[in-house]
């Protein structure tokens, strides 16, 4: 197959830029860090440009995200082969406690309250991030595509290259698992609106 760069039709650039946040967000949740996610999106763009003629109708966003996902999976595979350190967002490991005590020591009370609210949010986010990262990949990606990116079942099926029935069962299972994980941790934490 000819792999030299060919001129991409203008619509590829438009499509990729329009859904760049979606692509990057998917990459972040699949790969766990900024650097790999950005590189995967970059790869995906080059691949999309070369494979523009494989777009066969349907949701262009799903077509683009399918390519992004494939690039992420390829990266995951080499990473797992290398068996180097798998980096996970530092946010997922930082529950905000150390930051909180530092803030309490350094700031006057009223300002500390305000900061504390923000830290509560940071804590909640860390909790969710950890719960999501702990989910097996197939549930994590399905949940991100549906709940955050708001893709339809049909689009998700196109991104994951899987039947709609599989999308439905992964979504149900993923939701149940995440709910369980959050309820489990919430019991020992302050309220999270759950």
């Amino acid at each position: 197959m000819n792999v030299t760069a060919t001129a991409a039709p203008g619509w590829i650039g438009e499509l990729a830029l329009h859904h760049l946040d979606a692509a990057y967000n998917l990459g972040r949740w699949l790969l766990g860090n900024e650097h790999d996610a950005a590189d995967a999106v970059h790869d995906a763009f080059l691949r999309a440009a070369r494979a523009a003629d494989t777009y066969a109708g349907g949701s262009a966003r799903a077509w683009w995200l399918a390519i992004v996902r494939n690039c992420c999976l390829a990266r995951l595979e080499t990473r797992n082969k290398d068996r180097r350190n798998i980096s996970i967002d530092s946010a997922a490991n930082d529950d905000g406690d150390s930051a909180r005590s530092a803030v309490e020591q350094l700031l006057p009370r009223s300002e500390a309250n305000e900061v504390e609210e923000r830290l509560d949010q940071a804590q909640r986010r860390a909790l969710i991030a950890r719960a999501l990262h702990d989910l097996p990949q197939e549930f994590r990606e399905t949940l991100i595509l549906r709940e955050i990116e708001e893709l339809s079942y049909r689009e998700i099926a196109d991104v994951l290259q899987t039947p709609i029935g599989t999308v439905m069962s992964r979504l149900a299972r993923g939701r149940a698992l995440l709910h369980k994980a959050l309820v489990g941790t919430a019991a020992s934490e302050v309220t999270h609106g759950l």
Binding site: L20, D21, Y24, E34, E147, P163
Partner: protein, 265 residues
């Protein structure tokens, strides 16, 4: 609607996958059922939590700049003439093959159902067949629940056939049997395993019938009707092509329809 059906419908309703009539039917049940309301509220709470606390990572400016630059250079360059393009446009199947290769090479995991079927041992083949049957049933039910069971609405086979050809590079035999009581409604594309299948949709009285056109290598074990929740899955021949019918017709109607399809060339 009973509670068990409602539970299955609940995620579809919550995710906006039901058409208006089905939504209303579900809402009627919801009014009367506190358990289902609670389940719906739970789903909604989880979604709110995710949207609030699982922040959507925005693409960094640096990446955006990189892609913008790439897009500008790649698109402004004059397209080089590719050798394989020299003799006119590539055949349709090439685009299809390319997309398969792309998915295959990049994913590395998308081993298609059809590929594994021929080579595997008996139990594996049996489970592949069972998986295929599950996929076809799920596809049919989802189509029934969706706003429209078809992607292209047409009673004219001359519209449906080229539509498939343009989308997935295969052109199944399409005939309208309106005179015999089986009217062509249109077509859609669905997945079974990782393969994209053309689906011909017919209507017979109140029955909606899906005809899945299967790849040559795929076969459903035997001709025996496979039953699930009142729906039948039957392996048939569409001319010389393997196909499968999913519907809630009875056996006599089905046999008649299968005969019509088999006679098509």
């Amino acid at each position: 609607m009973d509670c068990k059906t409602a539970r299955d419908t609940l995620p579809l309703y919550f995710d906006g996958e039901l058409d208006r009539a089905a939504s209303r039917e579900f809402e009627a049940h919801l009014d009367a059922c506190a358990d289902c309301r609670a389940a719906l509220i739970e789903l909604d709470a989880l979604r709110s939590t995710l949207r609030r606390d699982a922040p959507r990572h925005a693409a960094p400016q640096l990446l955006r700049k990189r892609i913008e630059k790439l897009a500008a250079t790649e698109t402004s360059a004059t397209p080089p003439t590719l050798p394989r393009r020299a003799s006119g446009s590539p055949p349709r199947w090439l685009a299809y093959a390319a997309s398969t290769v792309l998915a295959f090479a990049a994913g590395g995991m998308a081993v298609s159902l059809w590929d594994s079927q021929g080579r595997n041992t008996e139990p594996a083949q049996a489970s592949a067949t069972a998986q295929l049957a599950r996929d076809l049933f799920a596809s049919h039910w989802r189509a029934l629940a969706a706003a429209s069971p078809v992607d292209v609405v047409s009673t004219d086979r001359h519209t449906v056939k080229p539509w498939f050809e343009g989308k997935i590079g295969v052109a199944p035999v399409v005939h309208d049997f309106a005179e015999q009581g089986f009217a062509l409604v249109g077509g859609r594309i669905d997945y079974a395993g990782s393969a994209r299948l053309p689906v011909l949709v017919y209507r017979h009285g109140q029955h909606l019938i899906d005809v899945f056109v299967l790849p040559d290598s795929a076969a459903l074990a035997g001709n025996a009707g496979n039953l699930q929740s009142g729906y039948r899955l039957d392996a048939i021949k569409l001319g010389d092509q393997n196909a499968a019918i999913v519907s809630d017709m009875d056996q006599t109607e089905l046999a008649h329809f299968a005969q019509l399809l088999n006679a098509t060339r």
